[in-house]
Symmetry: C2
Subunit: 395 residues, 2 copies
Amino acid sequence: MIKPVGSDELQPLFVYDPDQHHELMREARELPSVMISSQAAGNAVMMGGGYFSPLKGYMRVEDAVSVARTMQTTDGLFFPVPVLCLLDRVDTIEGGRRIALRDPNMEGNPILAVMDVEDIETVSDEQMALMTGKVYCTDDMKHPGVAAFNRQGRFAVSGPIQVLHFSYFQDDFPDTFRTAVEIRHEIAERGWNQVVAFQTRNPMHLAHEELCHMAMDHLGCDGLVIHMLLGKLKAGDIPAPVRDAAIRKMVELYFQPNSAMVTGYGFDMLYAGPREAVLHAYFRQNMGATHFIIGRDHAGVGDYYGAFDAQTIFDEEVPQGALEIGIFKADHTAWSKKLGKVVMMREAPDHTKEDFVLLSGTKVRQMLSEGIAPPEEFSRPEVARILMDYYRSSK
Amino acid sequence: MIKPVGSDELQPLFVYDPDQHHELMREARELPSVMISSQAAGNAVMMGGGYFSPLKGYMRVEDAVSVARTMQTTDGLFFPVPVLCLLDRVDTIEGGRRIALRDPNMEGNPILAVMDVEDIETVSDEQMALMTGKVYCTDDMKHPGVAAFNRQGRFAVSGPIQVLHFSYFQDDFPDTFRTAVEIRHEIAERGWNQVVAFQTRNPMHLAHEELCHMAMDHLGCDGLVIHMLLGKLKAGDIPAPVRDAAIRKMVELYFQPNSAMVTGYGFDMLYAGPREAVLHAYFRQNMGATHFIIGRDHAGVGDYYGAFDAQTIFDEEVPQGALEIGIFKADHTAWSKKLGKVVMMREAPDHTKEDFVLLSGTKVRQMLSEGIAPPEEFSRPEVARILMDYYRSSK
């Protein structure tokens, strides 16, 4: 099985022994505590489940800046983005060597993790600007990732953590949320050797399904991990159970037995385009995938990134040998009327836009909500049925 | 795929839509609430995950008594044991049509479920005695199941529930705890057709491993679900992560790829012997197993049950057609020195005790803690290594 990044064994920071867990919870309730940012909480959940292994906790500013510049800490440890715990205020934890971190995303702000504080530093405007520019390739505060990063406080608390909870992901997505540990176990149990991971947060239409088949065929994969980004919904989003049911129906009907698993992980989108693509690949290696599909505009937003920047970064900026996972570089896929099948657009250079069956997200939602199934060149009818039933019932 | 008991679709009572879940949590915090018994909480977790489908909630006394007598409610719905919410006091919820149920097994007693109260009744001593006698086949308060059942209060609150949390099982066993919904999904994804379930709460030695292989071979199963009872540990028990690692190592080395999965469920032992065996089979059918292994003294304690009562009950007392799952009736298994392999004891009638490699639990624990590997006829060396490492490190 492919090794995790940077070590022989996955190093999840969740406290798996129930006795130790209870003891640590007892201790944590007596410790000075602080509510952390949503981003810091997301980092804790990812470190807890082994996705960010071998990180031990939040980075010092020097390391975060170094990572932003070169994707390496000052000690040369590879990591694609800064992993910081930035706080507005630290008066409740000043002097504390060991503190409890509270979850901003759950009612009552329960304890998420315990930290051994190594340092509390102030991040300068220059350092914030440098990290923002390197990671997001822009300083535009209209960029949602830039805004979220910079809305955090300027105190950077660093040190190793022990994770005690997976935030709201287990309550909200009990049947879909998986740690990297779990996915590794399941890949081993299934006996898969070559495993490609697919990132999504939406139901999958035919073009997505066929993209996965193409990647599996091309790479000789015996396994596909559909790995959904779980998180809070925006108005208009398809609810998680409906999305999951649509994806599971697709897997049931259109994938060979024991060739695909439907899973999810808890993290917020950074919209950091190329850098986020590297992060996505990083944690897919940690969960045991040998390959990862990266298409056009992966993890992008607006026009901040070139269409294929999230692919070229692997050749141009990721340090040689840092990642073992292979990247399946994809283009958009769509049904070709000329060829009578789904193709990758770049492989049909003679096609014009009119030669493809293309429907905007808005158009598809409108059709589904009117009970009109999209054409079979766009959606599997059984998948469309689940989505139409949802729209009809929610009226 | 095998259908769940009593309906075409599994009917989990967990609220899977995150929006509805949050709304219900908000509502629940304003409702009259009551802390329930550990048994009632266990029932809620099982109903939440679909294991007790198609039950909608806690039974009325009349139904519980009827179930205790005949394994059928007054409406003829099959269920093996009473599913009650027995409380000491109901003053906090008197008059409440809709109430919140609080978890006795977690710090702070968070809300576990919301209930539409249909009735609050008092259970008479005669009714308790009748249920106890029928379910546990004894009224001896030294029987741990009898004691736990009778230690509960005498107010039976009944009605449908909506489940909001899986108690401490997701915090304590995040990578092992599974709902029946999840296991059904995974069986479908793996493409298994004949699936046998194995109940355990301990590491598996060679005799257990071979029992699973025997069942799979005999039944023509392409899948095995190792389904661990998760729960609070007793002093001296192997911690969950060690037990899990030992079982996973066994699966990795001694089972074909895609032939076994390692999972767990959250419930307390009833020690109800035959009746519990029927319950165990019931919820294995709900999770998608076509067969279930029942050995000697299944779910028994002390000398309250005959060695094979938990097998004969399926022929003698379970209503015809109530369960579709098949029972693999097993005896103890052990290494035969005469035959040079693990055999089922009843199939070696010419053997004396001395012809088998038998070690008591106490003896095995002693050996492991002294760093002595049990003989290979008893334990796989790789499994023994994990257990010895644990004992050495815990000294």
